[in-house]
Amino acid sequence: MNKTNDKLLKTCLLITGILLITGCEPGENLTTDNGFPESFHPGVFIINEGNFVGGNGSVSYLDLIDSKMYNHIFQAINDRSLGDIPQSMYIMDNLGFIVINNSAKIEVINMDDFISVNTIPGFSSPRHFLPVSDSIAYVSDMFSGSISVVNLDDYTITKTIETGMSTEQMIIIDNEVFVANWMSGNKILVINPILGEIIDSIEVIIEPNSMVIDKNQKLWVLCSGGYLNEEMPGILRIDPSTREKEETFRFSVLKSSPSHLCINGSGDTLYFLNNTNLPARRGIFQMSVTDLEIPSEPLVQTEKLFYSIGIDPENGIIYAADAVDYQQKGKVFRYLPNAALKDSFDVDIIPGSFVFNR
């Protein structure tokens, strides 16, 4: 065989190979774009916490229309670091509020182009952001023992609401704000945003770490039982109008650390993460709002420990984050509602939360 033939054969093989490979891919191909998005279609923001005092927190963005992944979008667009430990993000109309815990600030983002339009400084250890009216938002805090009240017209902290305890996730229902007293706590505080005062508190289980509202307007609270397993973890269903605990579902294994209570778009199915030392009972759990007990078997059982999960409200696709060794790019696994693995993609260091922009 002469040289020309050899070359031709190789080219043919190469082309066939490419066709075979691309032909085998599932319908929806995810590609990673090294630049940054021109505009923001419906998509998912992934908040990568980065390492404590490592200053390497970042935001990744998955464009669900073009199926394109972008990493470090804040850095790429704003030409500076996002900060130390971005904790959560809240989308309010045209603005995004990224709470950066150890930088003790909030970056206010224009959602059309992701350009930071303002930085709100002056917090202590901020965790979550929640608007309570058109001009006022609350910011919970891990260490300060108070909630900061932010004026959304000029982005300043106008006052604080003393709680005397750590505050975490917040939810507004019927003009009342329910605040989880997570770290070393066991309460849900109820705040009237018009008065700006705590009007009630509901005792739950130790360390309520996440909350959702279901289709019946019931408040579901997931409690880890304390990070040293002081109490059996559990899930509570509360009627926010009466502030009565309607149901308390307990886990069956004390050495469990459930977290990340999420709900699907129709508000009838709960999801949460549970890490136990029993690999068979480790993974992503699914529970109907009508279930009478917590399922003992996970929907998605995993050898690895997922760090966080999120549920796409449109189609119920489960996003699960693997932080690997906490020093490298994390990986996101997507599961269909029936628990089948759909695909996976790389994000950045310690993917901690998913924010759906639908």
Partner: protein, 611 residues
Amino acid sequence: MTAYKKIHIDSSIIAEYHTRNLSDLLAENTPLFIKTYGQGGLATSSIRGAGASHTMVTWNGININSPMLGQLDFSLIPVSFLDGAEVFCGAGSIRDYSGALGGSVNLINEPDWNNRLNLELSQEFGSYHSKNSHFSSAFGNSRFQSQTRFFYSAAENNFTFLNTEISQVPVIQERENASFIKSGLIQEFYIRPSSNHFLTARLWYQSNNRHLPEPMVVIPVYGNEKQNDHFLRSQINWKYYSRKVVVSTTTAWQYNFLNYSNRTAGIDSENRTQIITGRVDLSYDLFPELQLNSGVLGDYAYIWTENYLKPAEQKHFSVYFSAEKNIKQRLKINMMARQDIYHGELPPLIPSAGINLKLLKETDIHFKANISKNFHKPTLNDRYWYPGGNPDLNEEKGTSGELSLDYAGNSGGIFLYQTGVTAYRSKIDNWIQWQPGEYGYWEPANLKEVLSKGIESFLSCHVNLTGFSISIGTNWTYTSATNIKPSGSSDMSVDKQLVYVPEHQTNAHIKVKTGGFMIKYSYNYTGKRYISSDNSQFLPSYKLSDLSLSYAYKKGSNRAEINLFIGNVWDIDYQAIAYHPMPGRNYFLNIRYFFMKKASAKSEVRKKIRK
């Protein structure tokens, strides 16, 4: 010359660094990589890609690493408190302790028996409100020496830097929360009642107060994070020399108090450590060509800390034996073995063997080779930190081997040169790393397996002409340190360089002396360091240069010296740790006065006692 790699830092280098701390001395004169947060900030070392707790630091043979963290902060050791230092890369440390999977650093204090009276005063002022004072006095005769040294060092450290991370347009900011105040005292007594007895007593007290600065992406809160500690270290040593036997016994007591506070997080924790050590070493010249060494060592550590559920204690006992055979003045064969005992349990035996061959009869060229095993016991924090600590962690196990070629030459006392190259390979199994576990809090685990391969080379030249001398010294180091064990299918850290271990590192200096004048230019290249374990993020390499100019004036027993030190001469903007700014060009002016009265020439003839 032994079969193991040892770098000796003598009193002349110590004198040049007398206002600085051990981290500067080691970074500029050895192949060690020093990871530093800047002046006054934590400085730890990595030897041959190993971790900070794999460097054992001993003070005249007594381990001074913190039993809680397993490491020592080099920034807390003032060079003015030392008379010398020796660095063992690799297995040479086994003779003193187990655990130094990377290597060890021994800090040396020793008497000058020719001294009669010595006074030294040194005052330095420098950039960022830095003040360094040093006072020492020594007196005695050929049978007794006392030396007292005191230092005080403080700095605001409020240098300006360009913060590129806090806003789109970079802003010039002043570094906050980086100030420190340190002071200490060291007292030594040396008694030589007869030529075969030698008694030593040393006491070292030091207090360190510092603020811990935030990374530049965090808006500083004044005085938010602080660390105050003080320690007392004491040791008594008795040596007995006979014609064939040397016996050395040491007892030591150490106390350390550390208070860490973080106002935002509501942390104000106290930690107290006490360690009592006893050690006996025996050296026996069985035949002129066979030397035997053996020793026993016991230490007891007691830790009281709010971070453990209850006070922790560690009982450790260790026995070693070594034999060195000399064949025809050309070949040395060395065998060592050490057995440790922790609370009655026996970790694996540590064996080591090495050779040193003089290749040519007339030339000072040596080939050295050694192999060894070693292990590192998990630190007390690894075992007892609450929550997370795991008492069932396995020891980190090391296996290493090295080959060296060393050459030294001398042209009629005018041109002296020394050069050497070492290649090594080492593996550390069960490498301990902390990461979040099942219950969300951080836990240590035997996660990695680290393979290190590398080359260390050095060259030093000295040209001595009448009234004029030039010295050049350089170290070039290549380190490949990779994790070879995946933690799961997503783990991309396999075969990637460890974080904060540069592959390439060089230091070099040139020094010219004439009359009382001295000019020294030093250069340091630190290659890129990865900051994520999959090597997707890194800090760029940097080249730093320092310039030092001094003039010394001597009259009789009096000597005065003035020195101008310019750090970071080319005003390089760099980061040693991600998002921790480092100072630009900085200046230090030092004035020193000495009064020295030595023994008369007649008594100087007396041989200096063998250490």
